[in-house]
Each structure stands twice: as C-alpha cells, then as structure tokens.
Symmetry: C2
C-alpha cells in the first residue's frame, strides 16, 4: 500500500485539500468554501465529510496523517488564534476538533501557510538537503517560513516568521495589522499594486498601460504584463519592489545567516524583472562576511498545489 | 576536584581570561594586551603562556575546556575571519592554534562575544530554563546572541545574530561596516553619543551639560549622568534611543518569537531612562499576537566578568 498523507490549506475564500504521496505528488484533491461565519464546528464537520468522501474513493492508500495550513495557526497548540481573514472569533482548537473526526489518523498537525510552504520546499522542493533557509511567500501579504538546523522556527509561542511585519520605512504605508511601514505593504502582490498606483499618480502617467484600471481591478499580474510590454512605470515598480525586498532580505540574513532564500507566489512569475533588482539590492546591503554567499531562488513548488503539498509534509515530518 | 573551565574574551584593546566554576564564579583571572599587529602565532603563544601560568597556580581544579569569545569568530570552523577591530588579516585558525598549545584540554571552542554573553545568560544568568530568547549587547556596537530551542543560532555559516546591522533608517547614519542606517549607529554606547551631539547641534543647546565636551570625549555615561541631573537633551537622547531600539526589537520578535530579550552592556545602567521608552516603543510596535507577552529585561550577568563567564560556558555547553 502506498503511504500518503492529507494536506489541507484553509484560505480566505476556499479550503483545498489533497492526498499527497512521498514524492509530493497530489493524487486526488477536493475543495469546500472557507467558513463565512463564526461556526467552527459546522465548518470542521463539512470539511471532515468532504475529506472522508475523498478517502472512501481512495482506499488503496495507507494514510499517515493530516497536515493543515491556516492563517494564524499555532503549531504548538493546534489552534487558530485571532485570524484576521477568517470569521472565527478568539481561539479555535482546530486540531482537537479534527482528531474527533479522524480518531484513527496517525498524526494531525497544523501550522501557518508560509511554514507549510517552507516544509514543502524542504521535503519536496529546492531546499532538499538544506538545514538553514528562509521561504518567503508573496501573496496578498508577505509570509515567511524559517528553517533553522533542519527544523521550522516556531519560537516561544509558535508565531515566529512574521517577516512581512518588520518595518522597512518608518512612518511608511499603512499595514493591514494597523502599523505603518511594514515590509508586506511594499513587497507582496498588493504592495506591487500600491506602488504602481503611487507611481502613476506621482508622474501623472496618463499614458501608462495601467492607468485605465481602477485600484481594485489592478493586479500584480497586470503590472507584470505592462512591464513586459515595456511600460516604464511598471518596470519601475519592480525595481522599487526589488530594492526594498533585497534590503529586507539582507536584514534577515544578518539575523539568521541562512544558506538560501526562496521566493514563492504569484509575483515570482515576473522572473528577472523581480529577481534582478532584488539580488542587486540584497548584495549591496549585505555585510562583507555574507556577500556572494547566499542564494535567492524561485521556489520549486508548483503554485497551484504547493499549499496542499506543504501542509501534507507536516504529517510526515 | 572542582570542575572548571577557562573563558577568554578577546577585546579590541585587552584580552581577559579567567577560571570559571559551574556556578559562573570567576575563581582566578588574568589579562594580556590584545594583538597590535598581524602576528596571530605570537599572540596565541603569549596568550597560552599567560593561561598556563594561571593554571599552574591553580592546580586544584579539573579543567574541562576553554571557551573563547572574539569578534568575527566562526563557531563552526573555530576561526577569526576578517575581524575589523583586530589586526589579523584574512582567516585565522584560532581554535586549531590553541589546541596545539593545549593538547590535553577536553574541549576548545570559540564564538563571538555576543553569542558568548547569550550562553552565559542561559547557563548562569536570567535566561536559565529559557529555550528561546535574544541577548542584545550594547557597547561600541550592538551585538546579539540568539537562542532557539535551547541552542545558539549560528545559521548556515556561523555568522547569525548580526542584529546591529539591520536597517532602521534607510539612508540614515553611516555604520562602521560601510552601510547606512544600521541599528547600532543609533542604539549602542556610540549611538547614544552620536544622538547627543546631533541634538545639541540641532537645538544649538549651548547650556546643555554635555556641550562642553568634545565628540571624542563624550561617553554614554556622561549622557546618563546629564539625564540624571535633569538635562533635557540627555533625557531626549534616551527617549530617541529607546524609541528606535523598541521598534527594532519588535521586528526581531516578529521574526523569532522569543520568550524574552535581555539587554546587556554599559548603557543598561541607565535603567528606566532606557528601559521605559524602549518597552513603550516595543509594545506599540508589536503585532497583536505578541503584545504583552515578551519581557525586555536587564542581563543578570555582571558587566565586569560576563565576557569571561559567557565564553567559559562554551566549553561546558
């Protein structure tokens, strides 16, 4: 019997799950809507039923466990705590509730989505064999999973790795967390759109390819497409994004001394447009002892199923 | 026979060493000048002879090993690499050279001074029993030793913990490392003097108690003494220092999620003058999930022998 585990990714809109084998292949998958109201019991029941149905159709496997990636997940306690983009209030004992649904499943564990992605990179991706690296996920926000001596860094209470919330510009942009100048307000899919809009306004760039879309319509992919068509503003957006990201990653290296940093998420598709200015700023910002030593690499996980694959790794690690 | 180890601290001017017991008491000590020229062999011979003389006078102990704290020390390789405030050029295989001098000594290891201090705090000081904490040393610069899961964080190549060189003010003050706006240019004994001089100039504060000393004469202790006498500029210096330090420590928490942060070094003697604004800024800068949870504490190591005690801990850890 092939050994597999189940990975679950609880996103703001959808919850996706899949059966993952030891190579990191998703053998079967499914999805349900993420919770719309503060009723964790109903949501867990719906999720468990959907997974049980999937398992029933896939009885040829031996199930090792379930790994869950969720916002504000506490690895130590198995709880979701004060998640800002889920409707749950307070602290939800999610792993305990899942264990009631799956009493025979070996291991059930949860962590946040960026930590899950880091685990996926380490077990199935480009960080195989690495003991010290950082995974940076660029999406609506900026998340990070930090691996130290081969283990995820959780810190004292399980919430380490909030790299998106270090200050890069005191009194800078307002962050979703209520503070100002945090890294993710500049370096994320959202940050890219914010920079584009600021630049268009600053230059009154009416001819810019992006000036015909509303703030809410514009996406980081639009900025990428405009840059590829030669739009100067869009190119400048990636320069600025890379400039800030590179410096913040240098700060991270000064603290953690990793072997490599992996970038993951939609904006990574911009390739050299993002990586070139990031690496340039990174190298310029590093102390001599680190210069030329640390690789900044695109994640080798597939964007579509990385969240499931990463979460599933939690059950086998 | 009482079990002891030898701690060595190689500073920019003096090298101090001592025999330390399992309680962290320094039973005997000595010192030689730190190297003035690029002759590591001569320096190691001088140092070894001085230590051998001390051991000869203290034959009643069982010696477990030697721990060395030095700038730019690489724990993994036992080397001093490109140290900016020592005259050694390139890479010095320091531990190897010491092993030739002390072939019968059990364990000889080295790390940088801030890591040694963190180890001392963990084994003999206020961090006893803590598994995740950060030690911040405020001196000429700002160093840090980071403990994760009960072990010092060295990272991939042994140079983790350079917290003094994270950017807190892009395009800010020039740092000794050649970059700009690094934390230690604001939050260190030197940073305090720089802030004092800037404020005096900014306000043309001719009446200020510190305005009669040259830049090179003024020390952070003078600023402390002036603040205690009610000098408004000096008080403001500590407000600004604490404000910047608190924010940087919050960034550190967002990455590492420690249980506590210890402050060590001369400026810590300022007590509430430094701690109050630091803690206020720290709490204001923390994400909700961390607020009110992480202690900022003064080190419990004695300033005079902390470097020796910390280094000695390396031989028994």
């Amino acid at each position: 019997m092939e050994k597999v585990s189940i990975g679950i990714d609880i996103g703001g809109t959808n919850t996706i799950f899949g059966i993952v084998n030891s190579k990191g292949d998703v053998l079967a998958n499914g999805h349900i809507p993420s919770p719309k109201e503060n009723d964790a019991k109903k949501y867990v029941t719906d999720l468990a039923n959907a997974i049980k149905a999937l398992i029933k159709k896939s009885e040829q496997y031996e199930y090792l466990g379930i790994g869950i990636g969720a916002p504000n997940a506490n690895f130590y306690k198995g709880t979701i705590e004060h998640a800002t983009n889920l409707p749950f209030k307070g602290i939800v004992p999610f792993v305990e509730m899942m264990k009631e649904q799956f009493p025979d499943m070996g291991k059930i564990a949860m962590t946040n989505d960026a930590n899950a992605a880091a685990l996926g990179e380490m077990i199935y991706g480009g960080a195989k064999g690495m003991k010290n690296f950082v995974m940076v996920t660029l999406g609506t926000g900026l998340g990070s999973g930090i691996v130290v001596n081969g283990d995820l860094l959780y810190g004292h209470d399980g919430f380490a790795g909030e790299l998106g919330h270090i200050v890069v510009s005191p009194e800078g942009r307002e962050c979703g967390c209520g503070h100002f100048g945090h890294l993710e307000t500049y370096c994320s899919a959202t940050g890219i759109v914010r920079t584009a809009n600021e630049l268009i306004a600053h230059h009154n760039a009416t001819e810019c390819l992006m000036a015909n879309k509303s703030y809410n319509e514009l996406t980081s992919k639009d900025v990428y497409n405009a840059a590829r068509k030669g739009d100067i503003i869009a190119k400048n957006v990636f320069e600025i994004t890379g400039d800030i990201l590179g410096q913040a990653l240098a700060d991270t290296v000064h603290i953690l001394s990793p072997e490599a940093i992996f970038l993951f998420g939609g904006p990574v598709a911009a390739g050299e447009l993002l990586f070139n200015p990031t690496i340039e700023s990174f190298e310029n910002s590093l102390m001599p002892v680190f210069k030329g030593k640390i690789k900044i690499l695109p994640s080798k996980l597939r964007l579509g199923d990385a969240a499931i694959v990463g979460a599933s790794a939690l059950a086998v690690k």
